[in-house]
Amino acid sequence: MVDIFIPIILVALSSIAALFSLESKSLVYGAISLAMFFVGLSLFFFYLGLPYLAIFQLAIYVGAIAVLIMFTVMVVGEGTSREGRPRLIVLGLLGFVVIVSSLYFALSYFGSVSTTQTQPGFSMQLLTAALIDHYGLLILVLGLLLTAAAFGAVALARREVEES
């Protein structure tokens, strides 16, 4: 019974955090709430038995992205004039349709297939084997991409020195 309750509570808390991050009046509160959402996701990964992914999520999302977002929010300030458009009902219906259809799909399809975690537990060997054997080239490409992104971000945000 507990096995079902923990993910349900996590889903509830994380969706509240996600909604609050979008709807809060102050952007700083929104950023903090978004960081909580990231922590909630990492708790999901811990609970799924994928500790490496969970710690990766913590380090990258909470340690880097949330800090960057917070920094930007503090620099930019609240600087927005008008928020939102009066299309909420349509969007709400759209979201509802998406959720219900996916639920129906999930129930009808996976309800009949295996319902338990059949995998053996997480092992570092599997992950490293996958990373090196299958995705070695991708890692290189990813490294180049990250370097390019770092250079791009620095070039964009750099304040040009005015000579006077």
């Binding site: 079902i4 993910p7 979008l22 952007l27 959402f37 990766f56 990258i60 990373l131 964009l156």
Partner: protein
């Protein structure tokens, strides 16, 4: 009802919240929040299916890690663009960024 359904429904819920934010908010920062929520929803889906499906667990985790890394790069570039737009215009509403000259 099995556990996987909870994760799938949760992930869909996060995805829907993200789509809602992306479509209804006009502030570039909020839209970035929404994009991050969507990416996280996708990641949760990958992780949950990897845990229940009889396939290689390592590959799915590797993909999830790639997603997280690329999200980090995307956030860095996106935030740099937001800061630059703020410097040029003083506000970050995407509705008002409709001209190319900076």
């Amino acid at each position: 009802m099995n556990d996987l359904v909870i994760y799938v429904v949760g992930s869909t819920l996060f995805f829907a919240i993200g789509i809602y934010g992306l479509l209804s908010k006009r502030s570039a920062i909020r839209m970035l929040f929404a994009i991050e929520i969507i990416i996280n929803a996708a990641n949760l889906n990958i992780a949950a299916f990897a845990r229940y499906a009889p396939y290689d667990l390592g590959g799915a985790q590797a993909i999830a890690m790639f997603v997280i890394s690329i999200a980090a790069a995307e956030a860095a570039v996106g935030l740099a663009i937001i800061i630059e737009a703020f410097r040029l215009r003083g506000k970050v509403n995407v509705d008002e960024m409709n001209e190319m000259k900076g």
